[in-house]
Symmetry: C2
Subunit: 247 residues, 2 copies
């Protein structure tokens, strides 16, 4: 199996074999987590960087009255907390949404990597900027789109991101999320998520069951929700996405 982080970074830069080795070297210490466990909690002071290899995780915050807002999904190839070296405390938690494999990278190892390969440093910086860009797009999604387009847009994004790391198959991918998880992501009730999924299904835009989502017509889905992939900054993959949109 190809390292999903390497695969993702190749969307940005053409990496040397030596750098690819360095990325593999990051995955020395792999841990298994069960759905529902936390990698790290709000207020913690992390000592390591996590790299998600398999499964899904999310960044989230819990409000005092108990409600949860998911502010990011982590899919294979996603890193968390390069910022460790700079910020004192986590301002949010990271939890695992499905069973998952996670590599723990000691911060010294990470720092050494930065020193050894400026090219990798740039590529990793790129990936944090993309994360930030996704946050902005999610804000647009929540602020300006109603439930139907909001969920459609999220699915389109997930398709692109998973496709980028080779985690899609025939326009389908694993989506191990409950409707409550989805609701906590897009700012809706699980009831309303349910009714919205029903409508998307009825219009043959999605086919979701048993933790697997198929998008029978990615192009139409993207058209309907006005999905502009520019915010993912796939400099070297723009053509692939264009092609999918035309399908």
């Amino acid at each position: 199996m190809v390292n999903p982080l390497a695969r993702k970074l190749e969307s940005f830069a053409d990496l040397l074999p030596a750098d690819l080795d360095r990325l593999d070297n990051l995955c020395a210490d792999v841990h298994h987590y069960k759905a529902g466990e936390d990698l790290i909690k709000e207020g913690d002071r992390p000592e390591e960087v996590f790299l998600l290899l398999k499964g899904w995780a999310c960044r989230y915050k819990i409000l005092p009255e108990g409600s949860r807002q998911i502010v990011a999904y982590l899919v294979p190839g996603d890193l968390c907390d390069i910022q460790i070296f700079i910020l004192k405390e986590m301002d949010h938690a990271i939890g695992v949404l499905s069973d998952a494999q996670v590599a723990s990278i000691p911060k010294q190892k990470m720092l050494r990597l930065f020193g050894e390969s400026p090219e990798l440093f740039r590529a990793l910086w790129w990936s944090t900027l993309v994360d930030e860009s996704i946050l902005r797009e999610w804000l647009v999604n929540m602020g300006r789109r109603e439930a139907y387009h909001r969920i459609a847009h999220l699915f389109a994004e997930l398709w692109v991101r998973l496709n980028m790391v080779g985690a899609t198959d025939n326009n389908a991918f694993d989506l191990p999320l409950t409707q409550a998880d989805l609701g906590d992501t897009v700012g809706l009730t699980s009831v309303h998520v349910n009714r919205t999924l029903k409508r998307l299904r009825a219009e043959r835009l999605i086919d979701l069951s048993r933790g697997r989502l198929r998008l029978p017509d990615v192009g139409r889905l993207m058209e309907i929700t006005d999905f502009q992939p520019n915010y993912l900054h796939l400099e070297r993959r723009a053509a692939d996405v264009q092609k999918a949109m035309r399908l």
Copy 2:
């Protein structure tokens, strides 16, 4: 006048006089903008970094049907687009909300600065991480708080951020935003913003008129909206904020 960027960074690090000089040196090329102008548009390939010295600006996106979502406010001391060196194209625009003074910093100058002072590099990196953290909190705000708390939370945040750069006076500060601007920020109609402000006024939580916002009781405002300042990562200013909250 003290350089507002220096003032902000001092919330994180204790800077040397040489570094303070370097920051002043960034402000060599100041331009004046009028309310409504854009610093940079979506799709542009920026060649310089902007530092806002006076006035307000925002990051925003326009959807195809014409609606606008503001995804960040820039206040004095805020930088935009350090990412310039990495990303090819802007995925959003930056516009000026009031008349403003903006320093243009050529990217070479910025790169040189990074090389000269690792401490400043760290501090500037910190500020980008705080920007990202603010995005996450805005997402929580939109996803999980109703209009009343949403707007109150925004005002509390703005008070802390402006206080940090010395732009508040007696719990009041300039807020040169229309109600439509506020609506585009928090995902509400200007009509509903209006009704919500009315309620906040009636409860003596705000006093807003002629572009100036006074918060008669910052502590109570923060309490009501459950404002946790941790996401601003004011390592060296935590005590000040605590004090304000108890007022």
